[in-house]
Symmetry: C2
Subunit: 227 residues, 2 copies
DNA sequence: TGACATTTGTCCGTATGTATA
DNA sequence: CTATACATACGGACAAATGTC
């Protein structure tokens, strides 16, 4: 683990523990370099990471300020695994099949004819309350030992444990009205409005590894931009 | 303008001009330091900016790679002004009033009783096609010379020209079905689904300057996360 | 208003670590 | 194994914004 990531995590722990008031001042760079016995470059990288994650912001000539928790907590538009990190996450598998790739899917994944795809649907639950419904396609040619049992854990971790490196997650967000089946699985009213996030997960060298349609139970996502 | 921002913009111009193939290799840090006659630190800051904006990604030991244009073009989840930068953006003002702040709004803006708010609704058009419908509240106490004429340009620029500094834009995204009036203004079918982005725009020192409900004509937003 | 100290932002040179080809 | 390229880290210098006296 690099020093700056380690320092960033320590600072995040302190912020999440509520050791700073919202909008309150964080210690300055000079103080932190002495506290952690590292150079200013390293402290600045750590603080830059905290900025990107929405924990703090800074003003030249003034200092670093801690953001209110709504800026970094709750439903952020990141990967699912990030979003529900450290939560009691479980799965219910609705279907798992190996199917022939349609022409559309062959084009998307850049596969030859007669290629096969894994196709599964599952709900993800936090403390036994459904939070998302996922429908996913993955090429069999990339993952020869994939099986239904992987669906009860993190598929991302399965991919990374197979020595693949995930490089991008490109997302489209759109509004949908839940059909009766989706509503049932998410324990919502039929026709209620929700957000759908369509993921394209890429490995290195532009290889598309996963196409996922994620239907949220909650009709809300948060995001933050800082000047 | 700082060197690294200048360099970043030059590189962005080249990428947008199509001088690199999607997923293609960018010149290395060493080459770029010589090309621009700056240090490696500066080149890395410029490239880091390009990464954040979704133009490129990098792999240690390998190089910097140019992303396909869908990663950085189109409807990204940023501020409206950023999103439609360099486009032929115009406005139709639907209403402009000074109103008494409701209790809810007083709480939100942390105002005293009997405070006034500007309240306006406008559509924003790109090449005469409506792209968003905005409903906005701003405290009169902050902006004493605000007027309807500002609504035909960028309100953000008005704020910044008044020597205020915008520090955060916190956003919630949610799905909505257009009511008949919204649909008419956006030239969509009634009840069609759309995304609504609720903005809280903060100035320095946690001062909330603007609360905006932005209803999109398109039911789509893009985002990218990079490992 | 102006001078000054403080703090973050930018930039340079250099060295070493680590992943890739 | 080796060369290459990005990642991390150090120390130093000056610029620019801020807050205060």
């Amino acid at each position: 683990m690099s020093k700056y990531v380690d320092i960033a995590q320590q600072l995040i722990t302190m912020i999440e523990a509520g050791e700073y008031r919202p909008w309150g001042l964080l210690e300055g760079e000079l103080y932190l370099t002495r506290l952690f016995s590292v150079s200013r470059v390293t402290i600045r990288k750590a603080l830059s990471l905290l900025k990107d994650k929405g924990y703090i912001h800074s003003r030249q000539g003034s200092g670093y300020y801690v953001n209110p928790s709504e800026f970094y907590k709750e439903q952020h538009l990141t990967t699912l695994s990030d979003r529900y990190a450290n939560m009691n996450l479980s799965s219910v598998v609705l279907s798992f099949d190996v199917i022939d790739a349609s022409e559309e899917m062959r084009k998307l994944f850049q596969l030859f004819e007669n290629s096969k795809l894994y196709h599964y649907r599952r709900t993800r639950l936090v403390d036994d309350v459904p939070v998302t419904l996922e429908e996913t396609w993955m090429p069999v040619s990339l993952f020869d030992d994939f099986s239904e049992s992987e669906l009860y854990g993190s598929v991302m971790k399965y991919i990374e444990n197979r020595n693949f490196v995930i490089s991008h997650d490109f997302k489209k967000v759109q509004a949908v009205a839940l059909n009766s089946e989706s509503a049932r699985h998410l324990r919502k009213e039929e026709h209620s409005l929700s957000l759908q996030i369509i993921h394209k997960v890429y490995l290195l060298k532009s290889v598309l590894a996963q196409y996922t349609i994620e239907t949220q139970a909650d009709n809300q996502l948060n995001a933050l931009s800082v000047r």
